[in-house]
Amino acid sequence: MTPLIGLFLKLSAFSLVAFGGINALLPVLFNLAVNQEHWIDAQTFGDFFAIAQAAPGPNLMTVTLIGWKISGLLGALVATLAISWPSSIMIYALQRYLNGMRNLKKQQSIQFAAGALAVGLVLTASWQIAQQINHSSAAYALSLGVIAITLFTRWHPLYCILLGAILGVLGLV
């Protein structure tokens, strides 16, 4: 039972700072799961990240898989719950606070400011996590290609994932 409690507490604490979305904090999660707690190794983190990307559902499924690795189905449920509840409560409170504001300009200002910070954090996080997950220049090229595809075409992300799988099987990445 002890590892489950540790998992729940650590992930709940992580979720408290992750209310901006898990993407901005993937490097922090990597650090927690691989370097600090040794729940999984770097390779497994990358693999879990890939599975979570390909699977339906939100990106925080990486966390679900980490929980599953530690203690099976129960671990998966505990990890998912732990990562969800603090940020959900904070979002709920923030939304009520913003909706309750009389001054529309003030409300907008907070949203604009938070939005700008989120952009910087997500871009930084994707760069940092790329350094952990991409092991070849071909992998970086593929990541850049996906950025270009999503920005300039209307391809569904699933096609990008399919493309990545095919390139991977062919040994090109």
């Binding site: 700072v17 998966a76 954090l121």
Partner: protein
Amino acid sequence: MNLAVCVGTRFAGIPGALAAILGLMLGPVFIVVLLGMLYEHFSYMPLVQGVLRGVSAVGVGLIASTGFKMLRTEWKYPPMLIVIALTIIEAAYFHLGLGWVVLITSPLALLLAWRKAQK
């Protein structure tokens, strides 16, 4: 996820938020655990390793592209780009933690956001 909480709250308060989270998560959790079990059995295969290498590189690209898409809307008010640059420098170059980044950047961010809101 956060969207689910907002919509759930709109329609049925806290119970709505909880229901939205549960509904959103339960199916995907079981599917991803199933995939995890498959991974456990077949991850020794070079084929599977190749797929995961390719897909993880794509995943990195997808996350970066959410950032770039948000960046695109920020061009409507170019001074805000200073805030974004500042955030990136603090986090990527000086390796400051999230708390510090928010603390240092938010005064300027709020000031510029206030001006943006006046337009």
